[in-house]
């Protein structure tokens, strides 16, 4: 019997009650959907995490604690690393340069993804924002007692900002060469410009956004865009992008006053 014990014990590091890798003779203890989703997220298996979380959300749509997790999973699949953003924040690396320069190293590269991949990444970030927006505002407000409230606000700040920059890059970066392509700017419509600006305005208007430095950069960028030459939003934005690429973004005249309330924001169609 001792030999059996020793042999069994030396058989590996798995838990005997693990439903997948355990001993079938032992009653298995199954992990919950939430536990599996968390493990998938930790293992950066975003597709599995999204699948599990979306099923859980569909089953219990008012359990809002899962929404920030699902948003993080979508953002992770899009190639946005919150951890890298965090590390940069700690080391001060994220605070230098303008908005575009600050975020450039943390966003998916259009050249790496190609047109279809980049559109899929944009769709994932859009889904992240949608999940966070679905949480009732009172539950994610600074006054909320929910444990996920500050995460939801911070993620919303990050994803709205990154979505805006990614969306801009769609009209600025050649997916073949990865370089700035001024000729692509012509394809940006007024509606596209409004999508970008509305998202940035929503970030600027957020109360207790969780990242004042980023919010300040968004404010600076908005002011700078507004100060550009052009009759339309699209023209101003194109001028801003061109100037940013040239490294000659004009100084913002004055930061805009915070909006009284967070405006409803239209995402990309």
């Amino acid at each position: 019997m001792t030999a059996i014990w020793l042999a069994a014990s030396c058989g590996g590091e798995n838990n005997v009650a693990d439903c997948d890798k355990g001993n079938k003779a032992v009653p298995c203890s199954e992990r919950t959907g939430d536990e599996n989703a968390r493990l998938a997220l930790e293992n950066q298996d975003y597709a599995t995490a999204i699948s599990l979380l979306e099923a859980l959300i569909a089953a219990e749509p008012t359990v809002y604690a899962r929404y920030p997790l699902c948003a993080a999973a979508h953002a992770g699949r899009a190639g946005i690393s919150i951890l890298e953003l965090a590390k940069a924040q700690f080391s001060g690396g994220g605070s230098s340069g303008g908005l575009l320069a600050s975020l450039a190293t943390f966003l998916p590269d259009p050249q790496d993804l190609g047109d279809a991949g980049y559109d899929a990444a944009l769709a994932d970030v859009r889904a992240s924002i949608t999940y966070l927006d679905t949480i009732p505002e009172a539950l994610r407000a600074a006054t909320s007692g929910e444990s996920y409230a500050s995460s939801a606000r911070l993620q919303l700040t990050l994803y709205r900002t990154t979505f805006s920059v990614m969306y801009l890059n769609k009209f600025a970066i050649d997916t073949q060469t990865g370089a700035f392509d001024a000729s692509k700017l012509a394809t940006m419509t007024e509606a596209d410009a409004l999508i970008v600006l509305d998202n940035l305005a929503a970030v600027a208007a957020m109360q207790a956004a969780g990242n004042p430095a980023l919010q300040a950069k968004v404010n600076e960028a908005l002011a700078s865009i507004e100060g550009q030459d052009g009759a339309t939003k699209a023209e101003k934005l194109k001028e801003f992008l061109t100037a940013s690429q040239a490294g000659s973004t004009p100084a913002a005249p004055a930061p805009p006053a915070p909006a009284p309330a967070e405006p409803a924001t239209e995402l990309a169609p």
């Binding site: 009650a17 355990g22 930790e42 990050l158």
Partner: protein, 376 residues
């Protein structure tokens, strides 16, 4: 610049104090390292002063008056975290010098710290006991501290999180036991004074608002607060001895009537009453023995844990009383141990896994423990 010191200061504060990992539920407040190697199945056979806490009724078993007089020190770590732990505690010792570091140096150190913690979570611990155990009486002063620093790219709310937890258990156990008129049955009781804390703190490292809260020095002081309480364990062992085969059955109640702990610490405030039962089978010659045991803890399901966290099973092989090896299942994971008795000194090594989550694989910690005992 200050964020680095908020986090490192928190780590150092915990390290400099006396603090624990998965919180105590159905396991004894102090367990002998060799017993852990045998899956923690110690109701029917425990080592040294582990008897006082595992089951006081074990004291009358065996020959002679003195069972153990000595001290045990142990260290515990996750293999991958040794380097990280060394770095952190080195900094903790020389933390004062770092205030002269430039902002760039501090930022680089912070970056290195975050990289290390995310790569290799820190799990360390140490324990100490000083005890006298006779056939009818035992007293043990013990101290056990296990901090756990776990970093995740995705915490419970989706943000990167660094979580500090600790189990800090200290106290005195005084046990007494006797054989009943029916000599096969012994009963025992242990009174224990506990000084315990289970601090937990979670930092979402992208959230400047929550990090700002750590500027409050009172926070670290709160984390080092301990609660105190007095509890009672009671046990019984029925040992049916043969020439070469012994059979034993044990029953034990931990924290009779539940042990209430009071103080400034948030946790623990109560150790619930837990009823447990175990069986053991020993094959032996005059000097060698093979002991197989299974414990079923928390029969009343006070803590509502899954079956795999309630069953402890293992085998100890004792050769000429000088060498022992053990193997078993602790929290459902394989465990191993070995002990060498050099007359006055005992060396032991143990490898086991604690499941800190509710289900297998949810949040396991593979731990390696080494202990040195001096006594006889």
């Amino acid at each position: 610049m200050r964020r680095r010191w908020q986090i490192l200061g928190l780590v150092f504060g915990l390290a400099g104090a006396t603090p624990a990992v998965a919180r105590k539920t159905n396991q004894a407040v102090y367990e002998d390292p060799f017993d852990l190697g045998a899956g923690g199945a110690s109701l029917t056979r425990a080592s040294k002063d582990g008897r006082i806490f595992a089951n006081p009724a074990l004291m009358p078993q065996g020959g002679g008056l003195f069972r153990w007089l000595g001290s045990t020190i142990s260290v515990l770590a996750n293999k991958e975290s040794v380097g990280t732990a060394q770095s952190i505690f080195k900094k903790a010792q020389g933390g004062g010098e770092a205030t002269e570091a430039t902002e760039a140096e501090q930022a680089a150190e912070t970056q290195a710290f975050i990289d290390k913690v995310f790569k290799d979570p820190v799990r360390v611990g140490w324990g100490f006991s000083l005890a006298l155990v006779t056939s009818n009486f035992g007293v043990s002063v013990f101290s056990r501290f296990e901090p756990d620093i776990r970093a995740r790219a995705y915490g419970p709310t989706g943000l990167p999180e660094v979580r500090f937890e600790a189990e800090s258990y200290h106290g005195v156990g005084v046990g007494t036991a006797l054989r009943t008129p029916w000599k096969a049955l012994s009963v025992g009781v242990t009174g224990k004074y506990l000084y315990a804390a289970e601090p937990t703190i979670s930092v979402e490292i992208t959230d400047t608002e929550s990090i700002a809260a750590f500027q409050n020095q009172d926070l670290v002081q709160d984390l080092t607060s301990h609660n105190t309480g007095v509890g009672i364990d009671a046990g019984a062992v029925l040992l049916l001895q043969g020439h070469h085969v012994d059979f034993s059955v044990a029953a034990k109640v931990d924290d009779l009537g539940s042990t209430s702990l009071k103080g400034a610490a948030e946790s623990p405030t109560e150790f619930k009453q837990v009823q447990s039962a175990g069986v053991g089978l020993t094959l032996h010659t005059g000097s060698d023995a093979i002991h197989m045991a299974v414990d079923y803890r928390d029969i009343g399901n006070s803590y509502g844990e899954e079956l795999f966290k309630k069953v402890y099973a293992g085998t100890k092989v004792l050769i000429r009383t000088y060498v022992g090896v053990s193997a078993g299942y602790y929290n459902g994971y394989p465990s191993y141990g070995a002990e060498i008795d050099l007359i006055l000194v005992r060396l032991a090594g143990t490898a086991y896994t604690r499941e800190l989550g509710d289900h297998p694989g949810a949040d396991p910690r593979r731990l390696y423990m080494f202990s040195l005992s001096a006594g006889f």
